[in-house]
Amino acid sequence: MTLLWNELRTAVSLIAHGDPYLTQVIGFTLQVAAISTAVASAIGVPLGLVIGLGRFRGREALRILANASMGLPPVVVGLVLFLVFVPAGPLGSLHLNATRTGVFVVQSVLALPYTVALTIAAVRALPGGLSEQARMLGAGRAQLATLALREARVGVMAGVIAALATALSEVAAIVIVGGNVYGYDQTLASASLFATNAAMYAEALAIGIVLLALILLLIGGLSLLGQFGGGIRLRLGPSS
């Protein structure tokens, strides 16, 4: 037990004394989470509304595609974006590999399925009569979307929180595209990979503790939402 105990003590003191490396990693992680969730929401929520409310052909296929893309292994997304950003690749001139911007981009792409698919699910779960009635009363498309968004806000927020959660736990894609550069573009999760690889177990534990604290905060937010939603079941993780 002594190893565990010693490492834990060192880990706690790293957190308590505001270790500069740890502070930098926490700051960058929060930045990644905020930017990627904002981008994924700005694109994904309107897209989800269109697919959820629209009455065009192929919307069922789009819905299945959105659900399926939540199950895509992040390592695959990471590899594909990395190859697109390689100097010889189609977007090589952007020089995004091994940069912070690259990490923002890849995490936004990973978060997008969550905001799209969970917005669709939230809109579809609205009572069927609601949007029919609004349509009959002559609501335009924008009015209908606003109405649906207001009524389905709890489900949409759950999608946003799920996007935040993936930003905290994601490793593979961020390591591939970002290169996991020490003190530059590491997130908490990718830094824990680096730390265990370098046998810096106290750092790894400190990172784990901070990550758990952040996730607990999110779960707290989610369960508050769940209570507002009265009976709507919300869960982080896969929505199968």
Partner: protein, 240 residues
């Protein structure tokens, strides 16, 4: 686009050719995913059933903890398991750090929240009258549990498939606990990471990715079929 196309063309023959590495990785990964999910199901489904059906005190708290454990970042599980398994750690006597056996333990722990929480959710979602009636007719605990599992089987199967899916795409915990050692304890997903970041062997990484995507695709199709059956089931219940 020429670059991507070229890499892809080189990747395809590697799936069967090469040194047979890709197919071997696929086999190791499948076995790992199935064994970990099987163990997690044997422990988790009865546990989830007890949480969903039980009328003991604190079951809401236990259910909330099970739901929350779905959101624990896998790297955190990896760090904790590794430190427990290190030679100086409490389970160091087992000597399974940086081996496939250690990875089996980590994957089982990661699959457990899915089988517990999603089984509990599936059982909770059963029409309340059903279980009350069975109780009133004098069903004992074992009978009640069997009835609940039979009625909630689609949800339980979805839980098992979700656990399989995450096991296939898991990177963080596998790399941390196993050390990502080639020809020793790699999975498809962790091998993609190494081939890309350490060896810059993109065709090999793409070949592994293709196999991973095929496996995920099969699981996803199964989930979609289950989901549709679940929909019709719910519809039928509603109209009645």
């Amino acid at each position: 686009m020429g670059f991507l196309w070229h890499q892809l063309r080189e990747a395809v023959p590697l799936i069967w050719g090469g040194q047979g590495d890709v197919m071997r990785l696929g086999w190791v990964t499948l076995r790992l995913a199935f064994v970990a999910t099987a163990i997690a199901s044997v422990i988790g489904i009865p546990l989830g059933c007890a949480i969903g059906l039980g009328r003991f005190r604190g079951r809401r708290v236990v259910h909330a903890v099970a739901n929350a454990s779905l959101a624990v970042p896998s790297v955190v599980v990896g760090v904790v398991v590794l430190i427990l398994l290190l030679p100086q750690g409490p389970l160091g006597g087992l000597r399974i750090e940086f081996t496939l056996k250690g990875v089996y333990i980590a994957q089982t722990l990661l699959a457990l929240p899915y089988t517990v929480a999603l089984t509990a959710a599936a059982v909770n979602a059963l029409p309340p009258g059903l279980l009350e009636q069975a109780r009133a007719l004098g069903a004992r605990r074992g009978q009640l549990a069997r009835l609940a599992l039979r009625e909630a089987r689609i949800g339980v199967m979805a839980a098992v498939i979700a656990a399989l899916g995450t096991a296939l795409s898991e990177v963080g915990a596998v790399v941390i606990v196993g050390g990502n050692i080639q020809n020793h304890d790699q999975t498809l997903a962790s091998a993609v990471l190494q081939q890309t970041t350490d060896y810059t062997d993109y065709p090999e990484a793409l070949a592994i990715t293709i196999v991973l995507l095929v496996l995920i695709g099969v699981l996803m199709a199964a989930l979609t079929v289950l989901g549709q059956r679940n929909d019709t089931l719910r519809l039928r219940l509603r109209t009645r």
